[in-house]
Amino acid sequence: MSTSSTSALPTNPVIPILRTERMPHIWCPGCGIGTTVNCFARALVESKLPLDKVAVVSGIGCTGRVAGYVKLDSFHTTHGRAIPFATGLKLANPDLTVVVYSGDGDLIAIGGNHFIHAARRNADLKIICVNNFIYGMTGGQVAPTTPVGALATTSPYGSYERPFNLPYLAESSGAVYVARWTAFHVRHITRSMVKAFSKKGFAFIEIIAPCPTLYQRRNRLGTGLEAMQFYKQKSVIKNGASTKDVEISFQGEIVVGEFVNIERPTLRQAMDLQLQRTLASRSATRK
């Protein structure tokens, strides 16, 4: 990105964080993923993290493409495995702030096992999950987040499986920070991200975002803009709400906010502490 020094136009502060040479991106008009990336870039600017020490790891899917658009050390891994890749990366290079940026299908369906285990061990990862209720990249199939009754290509008569309540899943698995916003809540998202970056441990942010091409259209929910209006009307900010109570129903109320913010030793801290204790006591007994 070159900027002319004579230009009077202000430069968008997020530009240095994007691989502008790769634009236009692959996301559809009205898709919420780009909005979240804008928030992410702003959060990086605001947090003043050294960008050389921030790495982004994605899995596969529409949100999985985020890694390819951020001008950071970035890894587009295999489907569902962004979290274990990121766990290895962070342990090998503890100076890094490692962000996992992926979709609901990637993180919670195929990657669900890794999600709960990384939360359990409190791996020091910042997980950003864009939840559009559907598999977008493959053409709109039902996901473990699809609300009951919603149509998808593989649930043509309406989904009948109970979806995961992601904040509840994250909290009960051990996450130290849990928040949910919609793509409408751009300032809140940015603030939550800044907070998550400074947090040690498994921080989880769910962002409800529209998929106008597949989810909105098939369910006759209008455009991306109409989705934003819906989020504005139907979401209720309840910071500190019990995650048990934030389930999402088809076109029902969406409880958003910061739900969990606790402290607990990270995987690395726990590992180091345990090793120090045991090895010290063993060497003491030997003396």
């Binding site: 691989r19 790769r22 960008l51 050389d52 020490k53 790495a55 790891v57 890694a67 390819g68 001008k71 950071l72 050390d73 970035s74 890894f75 587009h76 891994t77 295999t78 569902g80 495995r81 274990p84 890749f85 990121a86 766990t87 290895g88 990366l89 962070k90 342990l91 090998a92 290079n93 100076d95 890094l96 096992n113 890794h114 285990h117 590992m271 090793l275 090895l279």
Partner: protein, 385 residues
């Protein structure tokens, strides 16, 4: 570059193959291991878990083999030298990430202590039926290197080679042990650190603005960087251009896949590593590897005592297959007798390279125990008639 003395247990030891493999990895500089317990490979991770804090390493027991096989790759891009360890069922689960390592050219080592299969098979008993899987198990076109030790000493020695080759060629290296080799205990001599060569990671010296993650050097292999050094690079399992960016065209696919394949294929002859006996006057050549080779060598000696002109060829490197040696032998020997603990894998490679010039006979075994040397001798005698 020489091994770090802190990582090398120099001395004479009495170790099983699993333990020796672990020590070889540590001597080669492995400082990250992710694994999931599976018989008969578990002793490797148990030993690493115990040794890790003493050698500045990290061991992480993952939730499954999918996680283990990708966590090591995250660690490599963070600057570590890493391996994972498994057996048949876990090896099957790791296939996607072997492909990812091949595609992203991530140097790492996959240890497979083979047991009887298919499926859960014989967890505590040997097999050699993962050999083709090691070569072809992940989807798409790619090449890997596979080494195959037949003793605890070789588990140590070849594990160092496994790491060195993975760094030199930037490929995942398969370390194809079997239950017998893993669990047999023998003398293992660990040399001093200054007698162990370690191939350093091919880090670039170029500044970020001049660096392309997938621009090949003169030998077809690109230079590496690691996260955190200011390169802001991108790695993807998608077909990618020299910049590392997704490139969805047949031209980029052709360029990339061809390079991934040729960086190994064009070096096939240079990579060959064989143990041979009595090939000079041989009319029949026994081909065997891993634990089967020890039984087969005994059968060769018995045949020699009967006056039969039998030679012995043991590839220590199964992939790339020692084509040159087998082709040359095929010009002058009558037959190859392939002894392997499966119903035909390496025999097809021997047959391919013999190209009709010499007869190829398989002495198969379904696994669970080693061949009876008499059975091999019988096959030799039949071929000799």
């Amino acid at each position: 570059m020489k091994a770090d003395p802190k990582m090398v247990l120099t001395g004479v030891h009495f170790l099983d193959g699993d333990q020796a493999c672990c020590e070889g990895a540590i001597a080669a500089g492995a400082n990250f291991v992710a694994g999931y317990p599976i018989t008969p490979s578990t002793e490797i991770v148990e030993r690493y878990a115990s040794r890790a804090p003493k050698v500045g390493g990290v061991f992480l027991q993952m939730e499954d083999e999918l996680a283990s096989s990708i966590a090591i790759q995250g660690a490599v891009w963070g600057g570590a030298k890493a391996f994972t360890v498994t057996s048949g069922p876990g090896f099957s689960l790791m296939m996607e990430h072997i492909g990812f390592a091949a595609m992203t050219e991530t140097p790492c080592v996959f240890v497979d202590v083979q047991r009887g299969g298919p499926s859960t098979g014989l967890p505590t008993l040997p097999g050699q039926a993962d050999v083709m899987q090691a070569r072809w198990g992940s989807h798409g076109d790619y090449e890997i290197i596979a080494l195959c030790p037949n003793s605890p000493q070789e588990c140590f020695d070849l594990m160092i080679d496994a790491f060195n080759l993975s760094e030199q060629y930037r490929v995942p290296v398969m370390f194809m042990m079997d239950e017998c080799v893993g669990h047999m205990t023998e003398k293992v001599v660990i040399p001093p650190a200054d007698a162990i060569d370690v191939f350093p990671r091919r880090y670039t010296s170029l500044p970020p603005e001049e660096y392309f993650p997938y621009r090949p050097g003169p030998d077809g292999i690109p230079e590496m960087v690691k996260a955190g050094d200011g390169y802001h690079f991108h790695i993807t399992g998608l077909t990618h251009d020299e910049q590392g960016y997704p490139a969805m065209t047949w031209q980029e696919q052709e360029k990339l896949v061809r390079r991934l394949v040729e960086k190994i294929r064009l070096n096939g002859e240079r990579l060959e590593r064989n143990e041979t006996h009595g090939l000079e006057d041989a009319e029949i050549v026994i081909v065997a590897y891993g634990i089967s080779s020890r039984v087969a060598l005994h059968a060769v000696q018995m045949a020699r005592e009967q006056g039969l002109k039998v030679g012995f060829l043991r590839p220590l490197m199964l992939w790339p297959f020692p084509e040159k040696t087998v082709r040359e032998l095929a010009h002058r020997v009558k037959a190859f007798v392939v002894v392997e603990m499966n119903y035909g894998q390496i025999v097809y490679e021997v047959e391919r390279c013999a190209a009709g010039e010499a007869r190829t006979v398989l002495v198969p075994h379904g696994g669970g125990t080693v061949h009876d040397p008499q059975e091999i001798l019988k096959a030799i005698c039949e071929v000799a008639q």
